[in-house]
Symmetry: C2
Subunit: 456 residues, 2 copies
């Protein structure tokens, strides 16, 4: 009988989040004020976030304790299982060993509740009555809806209008957990009204939705804002994924040569890989960490490292990030969770310092890898997760060419049961590959007018 | 930290299926030939099933060994987790302890692969090239598609036309696993053509789809048929659910007073409850086993115990069952898996002998219980599973009135992520309760012309 699953006990849920900042040779640069362009301190974030999350955003402590109530709620679905993908290995005909950490067992079916739960908890502790957020594909919005419902906080989700219309079931899931979901742009905010005045039929974008959610939080004392990726504290919350995976790889008597995760804003990638990168930084190991991004939104592989806004309108602080420019609107690929113009600050610094790698993959190869995986292992992956899969397939091919089998671990960050329309389009041959041309990239970068990063 | 989950190791997957027939005080009566109405032996099933499954259908052995290859594939998702539903208990404000076994972790998201895998395996062993089956909601069809794909067998699914149109994503899941899916009635069979000649726009029914699938198998030497419930061997395969649950309840240091499962043809119910009924039969314990059926299809609570056909057209052997008549077409409720006119032979005998109980529940109370459960525990249940939930809610209420808290275990047999349109209708107030009147029942029973069961 094959030993496919490596399961931990509830008492194995990590007691602390891992803050890679403590181990980074070059620390992240400070954010800048959107108006003055001067470095800002944590107090600038107070209208948007509860104090405890702001502290976590800027802390240099290596380990941050997870509150008991958060660990308790984590037990609803954690520790998540780690699998050896014997059937997928067989399908690929490879000598590589492939493992995957499966985050689809969570209430909303992805890794997002790992940070939604502590974010809702700290807001509750500080008396916040309402949390606003944006969502694209709906993974983050549904995770936050679940967490807010548990802690008795109102949740307002600004969902990109085109997704709102295309993914009614994600919206329904949020409603099930009591959230109010609005098709963004709305008439509820200045940002939304401004967009609608220009284009009453605007399909919306993640950047617009962020502007709306941020505005609502900034204008109301009892309301805060929550973000599902990019920020340091969000990445840190996800490190429970990699910490568990590390223990599970030890149970399997194995250790990855390569760890792979999909890349949108960075939390998925950070969650799995940072606890393995810790071994590189502490012990000089040489585990390769690969961020898998869509070729249609290649900020890591083809963007520039400079200050940029987190939203389209330019309301947020300026962050030092790999970016394609905050005005870039990625083409409407099916991995909505990866359609973001920039990368989180920590990940950007690590990439700049060549401590991690990135690869850009095409939509069709992603769906092909996803279908093959479903045939072999029985789980249909979320479109976001298929980016990691396509990268695994490439690494397997490379290992074959080199005649050196590798041990590969990837993050199967969610199931695709709310993304069946995307698979339908794939089967019907309607999926189109979007890859930016050199001229596209040049034009995008030429348009960026935010401050450059001055090398030390 | 709450101990919510009780997890077993892969080596804890049962080595044998439990055959309750060995322990039944009154054994099931033999099936009758559809034409002669005389008792038939196992050889009559040979055109439809591989020999090993026929042997299992009629065996009196108490324990039937599970082949290594089947146990190996079970490890893709088994053992499934058992949970203490602390959050749901809190929501209900009860002193009862509520546990649930969660079968939604399987590839197709329900308990159905537990029998699809061994059925495909034995067919493969005996050189079968193609398996046909019917499916309503699609849970069974997708489970069999998955299993056939693994063992390299073709799979043909006759899907009730109205479901085929309403549930395109279930069909897509079957396609992902390589199955051919037809909207039944089709032009491929005599049965289908006969129906279409009468009504070219027939929406189809489970009975018609069974007739089509059976005909295809009977007419082709390299093709067999598979059924997802009702038959003895199917019920037996599901007993791994209850065997695991029994171990897990022991891990929890607890034992249920009441076990509850949804009821369609009997495999869901048998899977969870038979290993607990074994304790009643062997040791004289008094665990209550409750089958939760829809009030719109109340064969257990309001049907008659007599011989009846398994399909609408009357092609199958006559089985001694609780039935509403094989011509009964249940109203189109959302728990498609429970829309079957009759109950499996073993369960029918047990109910006749008062060794189990049954309750009929209404659609709205089921969806209400499902939404409450999702809010509390984070998992949105399949409509079928909500029938068990509604029954649990009733038993909790009863325990409150009696002032005697109970320990209740139920089968959360699947997730509802492919059934979101049903929840949408519930939220929009469009769910209608269907309950048969006394006159309806009288008329249905008066129409039954199959042989009565002569009491010994």
């Amino acid at each position: 009988m094959k030993h496919r699953k490596f399961l931990l006990a509830e008492t194995d849920i990590p007691t602390h989040w891992y803050n890679i900042v403590a181990d980074m040779p070059n620390k992240p640069l400070p954010p800048l004020h959107p108006g003055t362009k001067e470095p800002i301190g944590p107090e600038a974030l107070m209208p948007l976030f509860p104090m405890e999350l702001i502290k976590q955003e800027v802390t240099g402590e290596k380990w941050v304790e997870i509150p008991d109530e958060v660990r308790d709620l984590y037990t609803l679905w954690r520790p998540s299982p780690l699998y050896r993908a014997y059937e997928f290995e067989k399908l690929l005909g490879t000598d590589c060993k492939i493992y995957y950490k499966y985050e689809g067992v969570s209430p909303s079916g992805s890794h997002k509740p790992n940070t939604a739960v502590p974010q809702a908890y700290y807001n509750k502790q500080e008396g916040v009555k309402r949390i606003t957020t944006e969502t694209g594909a709906g993974q983050w919005g549904s995770a936050l809806s679940f967490a807010c419902n548990h802690f008795g906080i109102e949740c307002e989700v600004y969902m990109v209008k085109i997704s709102y219309e295309q993914k009614p079931y994600r919206k329904l899931l949020m409603n099930t957990w009591g959230a109010k979901v609005f098709a963004s742009p709305t008439n509820l905010t200045n940002a939304g009204r401004q967009i609608l005045a220009q284009d009453p039929n605007s399909p919306g974008s993640l950047g617009i939705a962020i502007s709306e959610a941020v505005e609502r939080a900034a204008m109301n004392d009892d309301t805060k804002y929550a973000l599902g990726s990019v920020l340091n504290h969000v990445l840190m919350h996800q490190t429970i994924v990699g910490q568990e995976a590390l223990k599970q790889m030890e149970m399997a008597g194995d250790m990855p040569d390569i760890v792979v995760a999909p890349f949108g804003g960075g939390s998925n990638f950070a969650g799995l890989t940072f606890p393995f990168l810790r071994l590189n930084l502490e012990e000089g190991r040489n585990i390769r960490a690969i961020a898998a991004e869509p070729a249609s939104c290649p900020k890591l592989t083809r963007g520039v490292f400079r200050y940029d806004f987190g939203d389209t309108v330019g309301m947020t602080p300026l962050l030092p990030m790999f970016t394609l420019g905050h005005k870039f609107v990625p083409s409407p690929i099916h991995a909505g969770g990866l359609r973001y113009h920039g990368a989180g600050v920590i990940v950007s610094q690590l990439l700049h310092d060549k401590l991690i790698e990135a690869q850009a993959v095409m939509q069709k190869e992603c769906f092909q890898a996803g279908v093959d995986f479903a045939k072999a292992e029985g789980i249909l992956p979320a479109p976001e997760a298929t980016h990691a899969l396509a990268t695994v397939v490439r690494e397997v091919q490379k290992a074959r060419e080199e005649g050196r089998p590798k041990t590969i671990l990837f993050n199967l960050c969610g199931h695709g049961y709310f993304d069946m329309s995307a698979y339908q389009q794939y089967f019907e041959g309607k999926i189109v590959d979007h890859e930016l041309t050199a001229a596209d990239i040049e034009a995008l970068i030429a348009e960026i007018d935010t401050p450059e990063i001055l090398e030390a």
